[in-house]
């Protein structure tokens, strides 16, 4: 009987203080249901604004600012990739319209202009929203980053205008109409 009592008391003491130990911190925990349910609404549903491109990222670290920096960097990398894709599509459209055989030199000049703009330089990439959660000894930072498309579009247009032949040919394409429309809408 005494054995059982001692065992039961021992179990209770263990249960009470069992959580006091410090297990090794997992710095990169797998996302679980709780992580996902804790994510802010904007993380799942990015805002819809034609004048901006958006990227979200979530990162963890034992150091708070490092978690934020990592999330911001991941989001900036995504923005740069999105910008590159956007101008790659414009180049493709231009290529289809001018025809491969017409002037490979023109195409080369166009590609070089878009590359100059999309050397992944981000003007005005801003952390719009930030969320910080503390989970099992580490911080999880989630950010929503936005990038205005206007400055990149304007830079491309200026580069193209600087080359008279290229600009004249570009003006006659739908790719120009598209870029010009975006610029005008962005300026409103």
């Amino acid at each position: 009987m005494r054995t059982i009592t001692v065992l039961l008391w021992g179990a209770l003491v263990l249960a009470a203080f069992g959580g006091c130990g410090a297990p090794a911190t997992n710095l990169a925990p797998e996302a679980n249901k709780k992580t996902i349910s804790n994510l802010p609404e904007w993380y799942i549903n990015n805002p819809d604004d034609p004048n901006y491109i958006f990227a979200t990222a979530t990162m963890t670290s034992k150091d708070l600012q490092l978690a934020v920096d990592k999330a911001a960097t991941a989001a900036r990398t995504q923005l740069a990739q999105q910008l590159e894709t956007k101008f790659a599509n414009l180049t493709k459209q231009f290529q289809e319209e001018v025809g491969a055989g017409e002037s490979s030199e023109l195409l080369q000049q166009f590609t070089s202009a878009t590359k100059a703009v999309t050397q992944q330089t981000l003007n005005g990439s801003k952390i719009d929203k930030k969320d910080i959660q503390s989970e099992s000894g580490i911080y999880r930072a989630s950010v929503l980053m936005s990038l205005p498309i206007g400055p990149a579009n304007q830079m491309l247009m200026d580069k193209l205008k600087a080359n008279q032949d290229l600009y004249t040919r570009f003006r006659a394409t739908k790719a120009f109409e598209e870029l010009d429309k975006e610029l005008k809408e962005g300026g409103q």
Binding site: Q65, T73, T121, L122, S125, I127, I132
Partner: protein, 268 residues
């Protein structure tokens, strides 16, 4: 009745269950009482800060504070003055130049591989070049540094920071004339001023990244694929204002802004 091989009679079993119940109740109520007491202590001991710390006025100024020591009061003020002058220098003019290296590993995780960020072309601001005003509010000595103007009226009034997080913590303000950024830092119990200064520094650096940054992906290096990215920054900032300070139990947050006309990038 037998439990784990030992025979137990009915009265012993009742006593056993009662003991276990009392012990469990004790553990639970102790933890609840601790939680309530902790909350009460927290609410009654919210730190109080000068008014200038809550909402900074629309001008560049530097705020510094340091733990006050009766044994060496001069040293306390010296530290606070240094911090205030540094803060005013950041506000006046600074060029933030550097890069951060990150590596994307398997599973799309991003790991920091270090950063090298320098604050260059800082305005030379010392105690002799600015107006200083002081406040002793134990445990801290406070100093406000302004650039040849009188410190804002009522800056010495003390109040606790809001118990609820201001909106700018989660949502960066938008204004076509200003760039805004927040910085944060874990609060070090032994060096709270340092934590606030680090949060302000982080906000300043984020402002610089906001103005213009360049992401370079080092996708292929000597035929070895890697997912490393370098994010470069080289921005000059003039007229930075640290317009919001807030903290919870663990983290200090600072909101900084710079006029759009005062921000330029040196990246090609």
């Amino acid at each position: 009745m037998k439990i784990w091989g030992a025979s137990v009679d009915a009265p012993s079993l009742i006593w056993l269950c009662a003991s276990a119940g009392i012990a469990l109740g004790g553990v639970l109520s102790a933890s609840c009482a601790w939680g309530t007491a902790e909350q009460l202590i927290r609410e009654s001991s919210l730190p109080r800060y000068p008014a200038v710390f809550h909402e900074s006025p629309n001008s560049s100024l530097g705020i510094g504070f340091s733990k006050f020591s009766k044994l060496s009061p001069q040293e306390s003020y010296t530290h606070a003055v240094e911090m205030a002058c540094r803060s005013l220098a950041w506000s006046t003019q600074v060029r933030v130049k550097g890069e951060r290296l990150f590596e994307q590993t398997a599973g799309d995780r991003t790991e920091s591989r270090g950063e090298n960020i320098d604050l260059l072309d800082l305005a030379e601001i010392g105690p002799e070049k600015c107006t200083l005003d002081t406040l002793l509010h134990p445990p801290y000595a406070w100093v406000v540094a302004t650039d040849n103007s009188t410190p804002p009226q009522g800056w010495k009034e003390l109040a606790a920071l809001s118990a609820t997080a201001p909106l700018w913590i989660s949502s960066t303000p938008g204004n076509p004339s200003w760039h805004y950024a927040t910085g944060c830092s874990q609060i070090a119990y032994k060096n709270e001023p340092g934590s606030w200064e680090l949060a302000a520094y982080n906000a300043l650096v984020e402002l610089a990244f906001l103005v213009k940054s360049r992401v370079r992906r080092l996708d292929k290096s000597e035929e070895i694929e890697s997912g490393s990215s370098i994010v470069e920054v080289d921005s000059s900032l003039r007229g930075v204002q640290f317009v919001g300070h807030w903290r919870d139990r663990e983290v200090a947050y600072v909101l900084a802004r710079v006029p759009v006309s005062g921000a330029t990038s040196h990246l090609d």
